[in-house]
Symmetry: C2
Subunit: 203 residues, 2 copies
Amino acid sequence: MSEKRQQRKAEHRRRILEAALDLFARQGFHRTSTRQIARRAGVAEGTIFNHFPTKKDLLVAAAGQAVDEYLGEDLEALPKAGTLDVLRETFRSRLELGWRHADRIRFLLGELLMNQEMRQAYFEAVVLRLTERLEGLLEQRVAQGYVRPCNVRVVAGALVGAFLTFLLVALLDEERRLLSDPLEEISDELARLFLYGLQPQAA
Amino acid sequence: MSEKRQQRKAEHRRRILEAALDLFARQGFHRTSTRQIARRAGVAEGTIFNHFPTKKDLLVAAAGQAVDEYLGEDLEALPKAGTLDVLRETFRSRLELGWRHADRIRFLLGELLMNQEMRQAYFEAVVLRLTERLEGLLEQRVAQGYVRPCNVRVVAGALVGAFLTFLLVALLDEERRLLSDPLEEISDELARLFLYGLQPQAA
């Protein structure tokens, strides 16, 4: 395949996944047709099936891509310098990105929980990949001396969970009764919590 | 109302909620009829409507009761002594209880995410009450000197999130590829994380 054709193919794939995730999150998986996705992505309907045999494959791939975007560049900095500043800024930027895409996260998590058939595929494409990448990152930081030796699997789970909570509450709390603190304050407290813990002497 | 009649009424309510949550989690909200719930609870169908005008009210009340049970006695100990042992044991007992009821938690969270109509009622009955009780508990511990001064709202959210993750992963990870650690090891690492944080000098 020529380089140009490969580039066009990758671009099509990206546009299809983006359109699918957007439509799924707004109108549900079953109410979204591949025809609608093709129209929004600006490709022929057949092009979708060249990339993804079924609508379900499309959903799993889209979920995987969402995780990759979420684990982009600046998460790699977590916490390279081992300082409160770096950790706080990483938390802030990830929460901001998550809040922007909160409808997608709610949709993906909801499908994952409610749809037994899709649970296994999701688990591999999303949960396992997410924790494996975070675990690798944490292991590096332990080796570099920025993070104390720990069970990186458990710590990665706790970090992902703390984020998910704030993303979900942001979605549910439309009157901001619970999340009245500015993003900076939330990020600051999370950074202190995961760096210093709750012991009184660390205050 | 006589004391005996009041007791019977409370017992009926409890049995109805228990039966409802059990059936909802196993066969879904819409596929469960009030007739089925009445049969399992051992009450007349009309008794259900004396307590809960609609099936939706029943779901919201059941969700609230599940939270109360989860926040039972031994959570009040969190972390009264400020020691690693107490924190670890609290985590262990809560994770164990959650794993036992993991199907309910998955169902409640899934409904909450997917059903726009029910989101607000859930938010009040479940999310707000859960975080308010945890916040009160944390404020007490700060005043008693067991926990450093902190934004209790953010910390409560991070704690709830860490638990939710481990409950959800337990549900998804049927082959235990991710959660191969024993419950004791997970509880121990979570206690260390929230007490000491990840800073290298605390190792």
